[in-house]
């Protein structure tokens, strides 16, 4: 059978932990659609367009991975894309509670779509977009935690903020 899987997230920005999961997922499924949450409610560091641009560059070499975005119910997006699987990363240090709640809710909203969890390498067990941004904002080195292009963009962004009057 031909299976399309959706890997949803905010990707603000993508980390090497995300990449690790995408790489594992594309090994199992015929096609991975990375679904960037547009989330106009939050205030992302990178605009949707820049997040999409970064992702496309990073996953460019992988022929069976594509980048899209969504708002509304994830399950509606998954259906619209003709996918039957949602892939989620699960770190020992991540938020189980939320993942479980969402999965049970999504099973209820659409029993025909399955959620599978995959674990990133232990090397990424503590890496989250939030923590990476926090460290980069304070001038810490995030090389090795995000793709090189993302590290460059984070440094440029926060250096600009600091030049522009400090972060306070």
């Amino acid at each position: 059978m031909k299976l399309t899987a959706v890997f949803p997230g905010t990707f603000d920005p993508i980390t090497n932990g995300h990449l690790d999961i995408i790489s594992r997922g594309r090994d199992l499924f015929d096609r991975i659609v990375i679904a960037i949450l547009r989330n106009p409610d939050k205030d992302p560091l990178f605009a949707l367009e820049e997040r999409a641009e970064i992702l496309k560059t990073v996953v460019g070499p992988w022929s069976n991975v594509e980048v899209d975005s969504f708002d509304g119910l994830l399950i509606d997006f998954v259906r619209a894309r003709g996918a039957r699987v949602i892939v989620r990363g699960l770190r020992a240090l991540s938020d189980f509670e939320y993942e479980f709640q969402m999965t049970l809710m999504n099973q209820r909203l659409e029993p025909g779509i399955q959620t599978v969890f995959m674990m990133p390498s232990e090397a990424y067990s503590y890496v989250s977009s939030r923590l990476v941004k926090e460290v980069a904002r304070l001038g810490g080195d995030v090389t090795g935690l995000v793709p090189p292009d993302v590290a460059t963009r984070l440094n440029r962004r926060f250096a600009g903020m600091r030049r522009g009057g400090g972060r306070g």
Copy 2:
């Protein structure tokens, strides 16, 4: 791509929670191999042969599910069967720690084999083989928690034990 997934366990006995996961897994993968752990070290309630017989009956209607058994390293079995995926059920009430440890160890032993976790319906969030056996042993009704044939066998087994001199 053609994907075979292995669903390992002791299945002493199979519960409706296991069945729920197998049903989800066979929806995603071309073939599911249920791998019964022979575990001569523990003292199972049902012998390997009976566990296999039960499983074969229960999954009989599903053409892409087969039943096998293993000892030794799971990862060796997965390789030998030409599979590339391990499927594990993950309940909100189950043992994360052990699952995480095993997954990271298996990633290290064989990076080419992926572990995916799937959640059973919330209706089975509290059902485990151990608890089902404990309740059945004490004369409680386990209908609806295990396939009907298993309920019958549990009742027969424990009635025999009680007739044979109490459970003490």
Copy 3:
């Protein structure tokens, strides 16, 4: 002895999980007082008056349940109502940490008032007011997770928001 129990919460809106706990509580205690937190600090979806109106309709058939509201310390409200018990729902997927902290603090503030935790049916293990609102806001169906009247109000509210210019 005659026992009054207080079931505090924001109830923005009440879910079937809350109702499940109230129903269990009224089976044990002579009177249940549902205590709606006025919380002027947060920005609730339903105003206090509407939350109270909904609750009164929903628990109307139960003679030993009444609806009240409070701000200030919960323990002061409990004392003022002549109650000696606080009832809290505890889901496998809920926030233990906060519940434990509050209970130990309340034991300290007033040793004569006891907190008891009750578990809702597993069918409601993933249902929270927050998640229900999120799903309804995005157009998902929440029938069966909240009382029918609440589902209607949620749909009406969010449809109005969408008509009024999108949710962004």
Copy 4:
């Protein structure tokens, strides 16, 4: 309404944490029946008779508390005693998983019987029968963690073991 609550456990031996819960429970319910699990499968330190004797002495001053024992399904015992509530202590450091599984199972076996959880004082958050026995066995002082009579019995028991050839 007149409510009888059952507080089940092994009580091998009773700790001050157990007593704290019994004291809170008797404040809420008309009658507390302490139900000692006979568990012939495990190898208790104190025989059922001694555990019952200890409990009766300790709760003697409380007129609405009585001591009984059971084997078989707890829910059958609760029914037989005409009780409608099961009381369980829940420590921040205790085994949630097991408590949740048992509660959901018991809800299923008998929807008319409710389980309520109560928290002991933080002073007992780390006290368990197992830990108390381990410390006493190695000659540590357990005064303040168990009733005085239990401390005396533990010392006598383990001193005898040490005289009788060491604990090895």
Copy 5:
């Protein structure tokens, strides 16, 4: 060897749980530097200057404890102070996830600096600055949870707020 340890936090305000950890830490290390996070992003109840003043009064009698403040990366502050240890309190009821993520990140940023966790007495297992402020704001008594001077300041501050137009 001479060891300086840094104990970082917001201390808005210091609690007896913090003091318990500082007291344990000063027993082990030659010098403890309390590092107040300046965090201009949050809206603290007490300004940095008042938090520092409180801390200096409270730890005044301890000769090997000093008070400082920082922004930027903690690890940079630790290096600048010539310290080699970060001390963190770890309560059974606290946020493990965050602590683990930060510790692994800090190990990566500077392998030569170690993080050690210490547990406060169980008496403080539920005490946090946030909860203390919430209780004090609502008029509850926080004596025994914070140093006497802090209790006085909290009462004065919140009484002023209430006089100034309620907390709403």
Copy 6:
């Protein structure tokens, strides 16, 4: 001040996760005493003498680390050695509950002795003696998880068992 710290454990066998903690601990304290639990109750894979021999070889190059063994209360051993600190490793995947219970109990038994927790590198987050033995027993490669000498001994031991009639 001169500080001696005790690092207790069964070390059956020592893993690279243990070594990581010892290495961090010797960086902070003047002397580390590795305290092997004699535990005659369990059935260790390596006898006490062999565990001590392995440890002495492995930590031989570190001048401020020594190897000893104990039974009885850990706190008595710590006192007897003139130590004031107990060092424990804390993995995101380890048993918090037990660690917390033991620490609070030890604080009560001897307030003058502190327990500090240190985290191993994320590379060892899933490594435990138990898991290493299980993998080695089934013929899996444990290189990199334990010191080379331990890997050799594990292979020899389990090869002998397999030759001697299988592991069943």
